[in-house]
Amino acid sequence: MSGAPRLGFALVRTEAELDAIRRRVVNVVGHALRTPVTTLCGMADELARRADDPEARAVLADGVRRNARIVEQLLDDLLLASDVSTALPVAESADIDLAARARDVWDGYGDARSLAITGEGRAHAAPPVVEGALTKLLDNAHRYSDGAVAVAVHADNGRVVAEITSVGGLPSEAEIPLCTEAFFRGEHAVMRCPGLGIGLTVARALAQHAGGDVVITVTGDRFIATLDLPS
């Protein structure tokens, strides 16, 4: 008799936990989609109203394209974070210069902070997979760190490693193991800017697909994302 109530209680509690997770996921997905979808709706209305204003229409058309791509990227990220392999890029393996790609990605942010890059090394994998993983890790540093960002690349024994180190904006000790969990966002991240909490999850999924991995560590005031790939 004593086993059944315990089992029943455990099932009820698990259901409640699953319900909480479901609500959390729907909440963050809704939040991330709300801004680009709302912007698309508003811009579509303005495009329709401004038939005689080519200057405004050009600005709006750019905005529609940009926000449609944001939604498309969100969709891909959601599928990858949910371990749906159909969203994985398809491409032949090639040699990719990680330092050069990191420079290109960072320059695209227009961030006033300069990116310090040391070392060199080439990954050998499908370019969109490697570039996707690297971009997600740099996005994370760009969005959440307060101080300097650096990339150190080194190759050894058939592997290449890129360590992306950023200062500040740290998760708490308890949050560190959860950083690559899908839909988890640390307290600092939530207060800082909107997001799905899947960037590091997607980086890790892509790296693992390429035969590598992503590991997150915190040392002092430094957040370190280590991307390990075959070279």
Binding site: T35, T38, C41, A44, R143, R192, C193
Partner: protein, 122 residues
């Protein structure tokens, strides 16, 4: 003749700022400035002395939560509307505590326009 209300829009998303500018100008407002975060908004509102500010809450750098009390101090007569994508319990409670009207971002600007007129003309 209806007064032209001078507005500053504050949002980290450039496209949201662009859309708000076009929508509010179509509705008869004058958008006198666009700020990408709370710190820029504080400086801009001090300089431009707008009638109203439309402020996003979650932004990198100085958030709307941090900027609104300072905007209240530096521009005490300026109307402020919090304009956010999603409003959870914390956001609703915090805006109620600060007595700041809270509106959800929408493709339809009419609710925002009505609220701005109500706040500035009352």
């Amino acid at each position: 003749m209806m007064k032209v209300i001078r507005v500053v829009v504050v949002d980290d998303e450039r496209d949201v700022r662009t859309l708000l500018r076009l929508q509010l100008e179509s509705a008869g407002f004058s958008v006198v400035g666009e700020a990408a975060d709370g710190a820029e908004a504080i400086t801009m509102c001090k300089d431009l002395e707008p009638d109203a500010a439309v402020v996003d809450l979650l932004m990198p750098g100085t958030t709307g939560f941090e900027a609104i009390p300072e905007l209240r101090r530096t521009n005490p007569t300026m109307a402020i509307v919090a304009y956010t994508a999603v409003a959870g319990d914390f956001v609703r409670a915090e805006m109620a505590r600060l007595r700041i009207p809270l509106l959800l971002k929408s493709g339809d600007p009419s609710t925002l326009a009505l609220k701005l007129r109500e706040l500035v003309e009352d």
